[in-house]
C-alpha cells in the first residue's frame, strides 16, 4: 500500500522531470538559433518577448496552426505514427536518470529526483533509446519520397554502427562500477577524483563522438543532410508532426547529455564539496548537462558535415576498434584489481 | 520594258513608271515621303535621290520618283554621293520639324523617324528657334492638322485631287510659313478623309478618333477584310492589349481597294468594341432567361428544333463562307434551307469604293446556295414560322428587336448573336464571336476572297459560330434516327 504522500511526491517528480524535458526541448530550439547567430556576428531571434525568450512559444503556436500536409501515396498510418515513435523513447528513457542525491526537506528523505530507480537502468535506457531510430526510418519510408527514404536509410546504418561503440564504452564504465543501476553509478563518483572521466578518458571521448552520431547531430546529421536530401527523413513533414520530430531530437540530446553526466561526470556530485545539499547537486547536474547541450550546438556551427562513407569508415574502422581496446584494457585492469584511479581519487 | 542596272543587279523596268517603283518592286529600299504608288509623283520632298549614270556621262543625283527608267541606265542607291544628298535634304526637312515624337501619334511608324535614325545624324546644327505654327488645327470632324510637323510633301493635297477627285486641300502661304489648308478654312467633307492620315509620312495629319489613343507599337495588327459593304476592302485591324480595336487601316490590295478605304469602314469598330456583350449563353427558364453553359444552351436549341421539326434559319449577311457551309449541312436535317437577310442598298454608293450594298458576303452566300431575302419579306416569313433560329453577328440589329417582339408568343426563337435578346419568344441566346474574333472568308462582289482574322480573343465563354455549329451536329442525333423518331 503506497501512502498518498508518496504518490504525491512521485507525481510531483514526474511533472517536474517531464515538464522540464519538454521545456528544455523548446528552449534548445531558441538556444540553437541564438548561439548560431552569435557565432555568425548576428543577433538571433529578439522579437518575441525579452531577448526573444518567447520565440519557442511563438514557434509552437505557428506549428499548431500550420497546415498538416501528407504526400500522395504515403503510408498514412505509419506516416502519422513515425513522429510519435521518434519522440517517445526520449520521454521514456528520461525516467531512469537520477538528477540529484537524496532530496532532504525538513529532515525528511524523499529519495532521489528520478522517476524510476531501476536496477537495469542502463540496459533499459539503451533498449528503449535504440527504438528512436525506428521513428526516423519509418518516417522516411512512409513519406513515399526518395529524399526521405535516403535519409531514413542513412540514419539506420549510422545508428547501428555507432550504437556498438556507444554500448562498448558504457560497458567499460559498467565494468568499473560493477552495476547497471544509474543511481549507483553516479553514487560511485561522489568526489571529483572518482569521476569516470579520469579512468576512462578514451571511453569518454568515444562516448561523446558516438553520442553525436546517435542523436543525428552535426557533423553526423545524415538523416537530414540539407545539402543533398532537402531535409532527409522529415522532408514531407509539416506542422505538429514536424514539431514532434524536432522535439524528439532535442529530447534525445537532453537525455544522452544526462546519461553522459551520470556515466562520466559523476551525476550530481559537486567538485570539492562532498556534503553539498541536494539542490546544489541538482544544480551541478543541470550545469554539467547544459555543458553537453552547448557542446552539441557549438560543434554544429563549427564543423562541416562528413561524407557518408567517411562516417561509416570512422565508425567501423576507428571507433569500434578503439572502443574494443578500451573495454579490453579496462577489463584487464578490473580483473587484476589494479584500481589505480580509485586510489588516486581517494587521495583528492 | 527596259533593262536597267540597280546596285549592280540587272532588272527589267516599266519605262512608264518612275524609277523608285522599279527599285521598290525589286526590294531595293529608297526612302520616300512625297511619292506614293497610288498618287502621281511630284518630287517635292527630294528624299528619294539616287545616283544615276546614263551612257558615258558621269553619275548624277536625281529624284527617283520623277526619273523614268531608260535602257542601259545604271542606278546606285547607296553611293556616297546619293547618301550625302539625301542627308542634306533630310536636314532641311528637319530644320523646322518639332521634336515632339513623345507626344506624336506617328512615332513608331513614322517615315521621318525611321530615315533619320538610319542616316544617324542625331543633332541638328541650327541655333534659331523653330518656326511656331498652329499645333491643333481642326480640319473637320475626322482630321486634326499639326502644322509644325508637316513637311509639305503634298500627298494629302494630291489624294483629294486624284482619288475622290474633289480638291479640298492646298499648300497656302509662302516659304517657311507654307502650310496645308483647306480652301477658306472650310472643314473637310466626303467619306475618304481618313486616308490622308495614313498617307501623311509624318504625324501632321491625325485622326480625331485615334489621337493619343495608343502607341502604335502596342497594337496587335492582323490582316482582315472590311465588312461594311460588298466591296470587302482589305484592312489591317489593330487592337490594343487584346481588348479594344483602336483603328482599322486599308491594306494594299490592287484587286480590290488599292491603298484606300472609306471612312465608314475605317471607323466601323464601334460595334466590335460594343459593351454588354453576351458572355456565354442564356436559356429560358420559368421566370426569364438565365445564364447557362454553352452546351446546355445548345441542347435547348436542339430540343426546340426537334420539337417543331420545321425550322426557319435566318442568318446575317456577315456570315462567313465556312459558317454558311456548316449551317447549310446542318439545316438539311430539318429539310429547310437558311436564308440571309439582305438589307436594302443604302445611299453611300459612290464611284471610288463603296458599293452601297451592306452585305459583305452576299456573293459568297449566294454561291453556296443561301438566298437573300429583303428585310420586310424576311419578317413576313418569320411570322409564318413557329420555330426560328437567328444566326450571325448583327442579325437582331438587322431584322429589329421589335420584329421579334411582334411575333406571336407561341413562336420559339433561338438567337446566336453577340448581344442578348430578352423577349418572351426567345428560348435561348448563344453568344458568338464577332468579326474581329473569328477567322473565315468573305467573297466580295467581284468574287475576290477576303480573309477575316481573329485579331483579339473572344470574351470568356464565347466561341465562334462555327464551333457552336460543330457542337450542335455532335449533340443532335444522326439523320436516320431522327427519321425513325418521326415515324
Amino acid at each position: 500500500m503506497i501512502a498518498w504522500q508518496d504518490l504525491l511526491v512521485m507525481v510531483l517528480k514526474i511533472a517536474l522531470i517531464f515538464g522540464g524535458l519538454i521545456n528544455v526541448g523548446a528552449l534548445m530550439t531558441l538556444a540553437e538559433r541564438k548561439f548560431s547567430a552569435w557565432m555568425q556576428y548576428r543577433i538571433g531571434p529578439n522579437r518575441v518577448g525579452p531577448w526573444g525568450l518567447l520565440q519557442p512559444l511563438a514557434d509552437g503556436v505557428k506549428f499548431i496552426f500550420k497546415e498538416s500536409l501528407m504526400p500522395d501515396g504515403a503510408n498514412k498510418a505509419l506516416f502519422r505514427f513515425a513522429p510519435v515513435i521518434a519522440a517517445l523513447p526520449a520521454f521514456m528513457t528520461i525516467a531512469v536518470i537520477p538528477f540529484s542525491n537524496d532530496i532532504v526537506i525538513a529532515g525528511k528523505n524523499y529519495g532521489k529526483l528520478a522517476i524510476a530507480d531501476l536496477d537495469i537502468g542502463v540496459l533499459f535506457l539503451l533498449a528503449i533509446g535504440g527504438l528512436s531510430v525506428y521513428g526516423v526510418i519509418l518516417g522516411g519510408w512512409a513519406s513515399n519520397s526518395k529524399f526521405s527514404l535516403m535519409g531514413g536509410l542513412r540514419a539506420s546504418a549510422q545508428m547501428i554502427s555507432y550504437e556498438l561503440t556507444l554500448i562498448l564504452t558504457i560497458l567499460a564504465v559498467i565494468a568499473l562500477s560493477g552495476t547497471l543501476n544509474l543511481a549507483e553509478i553516479s553514487d560511485g563518483q561522489a568526489t571529483i577524483g572518482t569521476w569516470n572521466i579520469w579512468s576512462q578518458p578514451l571511453g569518454f571521448m568515444l562516448f561523446v563522438i558516438a553520442m553525436f552520431a546517435e542523436t543525428n547531430r552535426h557533423p553526423f546529421d545524415f538523416a537530414e543532410c540539407e545539402a543533398e536530401l532537402v531535409a532527409g527523413f522529415h522532408t514531407e513533414y509539416s506542422a505538429m508532426k514536424f514539431a514532434l520530430f524536432f522535439l524528439g531530437e532535442y529530447s534525445a540530446m537532453t537525455v544522452i547529455s544526462c546519461l553522459a553526466t551520470v556515466l562520466f561526470l559523476g551525476g550530481p556530485s559537486v567538485p570539492f564539496w562532498v556534503d553539498a545539499p541536494w539542490y546544489v547537486g541538482f544544480g551541478a547536474f543541470i550545469a554539467k548537462t547544459s555543458m553537453f547541450l552547448f557542446l552539441f550546438i557549438w560543434v554544429r556551427w563549427t564543423l562541416p558535415r562528413f561524407r557518408f562513407d567517411q562516417l561509416m569508415g570512422l565508425g567501423w574502422k576507428v571507433m569500434l576498434p578503439l572502443a574494443l581496446f578500451n573495454l579490453f584494457v579496462t577489463g584487464v585492469f578490473v580483473s587484476l584489481g589494479w584500481n589505480l584511479w580509485a586510489k588516486l581519487g581517494s587521495l583528492i | 520594258m527596259v533593262k536597267i542596272t540597280v546596285n549592280g543587279q540587272q532588272i527589267e523596268a516599266d519605262p512608264k513608271k518612275p524609277l523608285i517603283h522599279a527599285c521598290h518592286t525589286h526590294d531595293v529600299d529608297v526612302p520616300m515621303y512625297c511619292y506614293h504608288p497610288g498618287l502621281s509623283p511630284v518630287g517635292s520632298c527630294r528624299i528619294c535621290q539616287v545616283e544615276v549614270k546614263q551612257g558615258e556621262a558621269p553619275g548624277r543625283v536625281m529624284v527617283a520618283c520623277r526619273t523614268y527608267p531608260a535602257e542601259g541606265m545604271v542606278v546606285d542607291t547607296e553611293s556616297p554621293k546619293a547618301h550625302e544628298t539625301r542627308r542634306e535634304c533630310l536636314e532641311f526637312l528637319l530644320k523646322n520639324h518639332p521634336l515632339d515624337c513623345p507626344i506624336c501619334d506617328k512615332a513608331g511608324e513614322c517615315d521621318l523617324q525611321d530615315f533619320t535614325y538610319a542616316e544617324g545624324q542625331a543633332a541638328g546644327r541650327t541655333h534659331e528657334p523653330r518656326r511656331p505654327l498652329e499645333k491643333r488645327k481642326s480640319l473637320g470632324d475626322t482630321i486634326v492638322l499639326d502644322e509644325e510637323r508637316c513637311i509639305l510633301c503634298s500627298r494629302c493635297v494630291r489624294f483629294f485631287e486624284e482619288i475622290p477627285k474633289q480638291a479640298q486641300l492646298t499648300v497656302s502661304d509662302l516659304g517657311s510659313r507654307s502650310v496645308i489648308s483647306t480652301f477658306m478654312d472650310k472643314p473637310l467633307k466626303g467619306k475618304y478623309q481618313g486616308n490622308i492620315a495614313d498617307l501623311c509620312p509624318v504625324g501632321a495629319l491625325t485622326l480625331t478618333k485615334f489621337r493619343f489613343q495608343a502607341r502604335v507599337w502596342n497594337l496587335t495588327k492582323m490582316a482582315s477584310t472590311c465588312g461594311e459593304c460588298s466591296r470587302g476592302c482589305s484592312t489591317t485591324v489593330e487592337v490594343l492589349r487584346g481588348s479594344d480595336v483602336k483603328r482599322i487601316r486599308p491594306r494594299e490590295n490592287l484587286d480590290v481597294n488599292g491603298w484606300w478605304i472609306c471612312d465608314i469602314g475605317r471607323f466601323a469598330f464601334s460595334h466590335i468594341n460594343a459593351p454588354n456583350r453576351l458572355e456565354g449563353s442564356l436559356v429560358r427558364e420559368v421566370p426569364g432567361l438565365s445564364i447557362a453553359r454553352n452546351e446546355d444552351a445548345l441542347c435547348a436549341v436542339r430540343d426546340m428544333m426537334m420539337r417543331h421539326k420545321e425550322v426557319l434559319f435566318l442568318v446575317s449577311p456577315w456570315l462567313t463562307v465556312e459558317e454558311g457551309q456548316k449551317l447549310l449541312d446542318y439545316s438539311k436535317r430539318f429539310g429547310s434551307k437558311p436564308i440571309f437577310v439582305s438589307p436594302e442598298h443604302n445611299s453611300e454608293k459612290d464611284t471610288v469604293l463603296h458599293t452601297g450594298d451592306p452585305c459583305p458576303n452576299r456573293r459568297g452566300l449566294t454561291e453556296l446556295g443561301i438566298e437573300g431575302l429583303p428585310q420586310k419579306a424576311a419578317i413576313e416569313r418569320m411570322q409564318k414560322s413557329k420555330c426560328i433560329v437567328l444566326l450571325g453577328e448583327r442579325i437582331v440589329e438587322l431584322i429589329g428587336a421589335s420584329a421579334v417582339e411582334a411575333l406571336p408568343h407561341a413562336t420559339s426563337v433561338a438567337v446566336f448573336d453577340c448581344h442578348a435578346l430578352d423577349l418572351p419568344q426567345v428560348q435561348a441566346c448563344v453568344g458568338i464571336a464577332n468579326s474581329a474574333e473569328r477567322t473565315g472568308t468573305w467573297v466580295n462582289i467581284d468574287g475576290v476572297k477576303g480573309p477575316i482574322a481573329a485579331v483579339k480573343p473572344t470574351p470568356r465563354n464565347v466561341r465562334a459560330l462555327e464551333r457552336h455549329l460543330d457542337d450542335l451536329v455532335k449533340l443532335s442525333p444522326s439523320t436516320e434516327s431522327m427519321g425513325a423518331r418521326a415515324r
Partner: protein, 172 residues
C-alpha cells in the same frame, strides 16, 4: 590539365581532435564579437546617391504631371510592369496619361524607365517599402505614383550629374 595534389596531413591533423578544438575555439571567440545585424524597421536603410527605389512620376510646380504618356518606359520595361493609356489634354503639351499603372510586384527597380524617359517625368525615388495585403493594392496607379518634383530633386540632380559625365569625352 593540372593535377592538384592534396595537402599531406600531419599526424596531428590526421587525428582531427586538435583541429576540431582549434575550430571550436574560433567559433567560441566569435560569439563575443560585435554584431552586424541591422534592425530594419527601427534602423533605417542606408540610402546613397545610387539607391534606386521605386519609380515615381514627377509633378511639376504648376501641379501638372510631367509625363506625356509617350510609352517609352512601357516599351523599355523588361518586366512589363508599366501600363499607360494616353489621352488628350487642353494643356500646351496636348497629351497626358489617363492611366499610368506600375505593377510594383513586377517592377524590378532596374531604372530603365528613368533612362528611357524623354521628358524627365519618371525617376527612381528613394522609397523602398513595399508591403500590402493584396496584389491589387500593389498595382500603383497615377495617384500613388505622383510626387512633387522637390521630393525627387536629389535623384534628378544625381541623374543629371551622371549624364553629364557620360557626355564629357574622357580625359585620356
Amino acid at each position: 590539365m593540372v593535377i592538384v595534389k592534396r595537402k599531406e596531413l600531419s599526424f596531428a591533423e590526421q587525428l582531427y581532435i586538435p583541429e576540431i578544438l582549434r575550430g571550436l575555439s574560433i567559433t567560441f571567440r566569435k560569439m563575443f564579437e560585435p554584431k552586424v545585424t541591422r534592425q530594419y524597421p527601427e534602423e533605417a536603410l542606408i540610402k546613397t546617391d545610387v539607391t534606386r527605389g521605386q519609380p515615381r512620376l514627377v509633378v511639376n510646380e504648376d501641379n501638372s504631371i510631367a509625363c506625356v504618356s509617350c510609352g517609352l518606359c512601357e516599351a523599355a520595361c523588361p518586366a512589363y510592369a508599366i501600363t499607360i493609356d494616353g489621352g488628350e489634354t487642353e494643356r500646351e503639351i496636348e497629351r497626358e496619361p489617363k492611366r499610368f499603372d506600375i505593377d510594383m510586384l513586377r517592377c524590378i527597380l532596374c531604372g530603365f524607365c528613368e533612362e528611357a524617359c524623354p521628358k524627365d517625368a519618371i525617376y527612381m525615388s528613394d522609397e523602398l517599402e513595399l508591403a500590402d495585403y493584396s496584389r491589387e493594392a500593389l498595382i500603383y496607379d497615377m495617384d500613388k505614383l505622383k510626387r512633387p518634383k522637390k521630393a525627387l530633386q536629389d535623384r534628378i540632380d544625381y541623374v543629371n550629374r551622371i549624364n553629364d559625365r557620360w557626355q564629357t569625352p574622357s580625359s585620356t
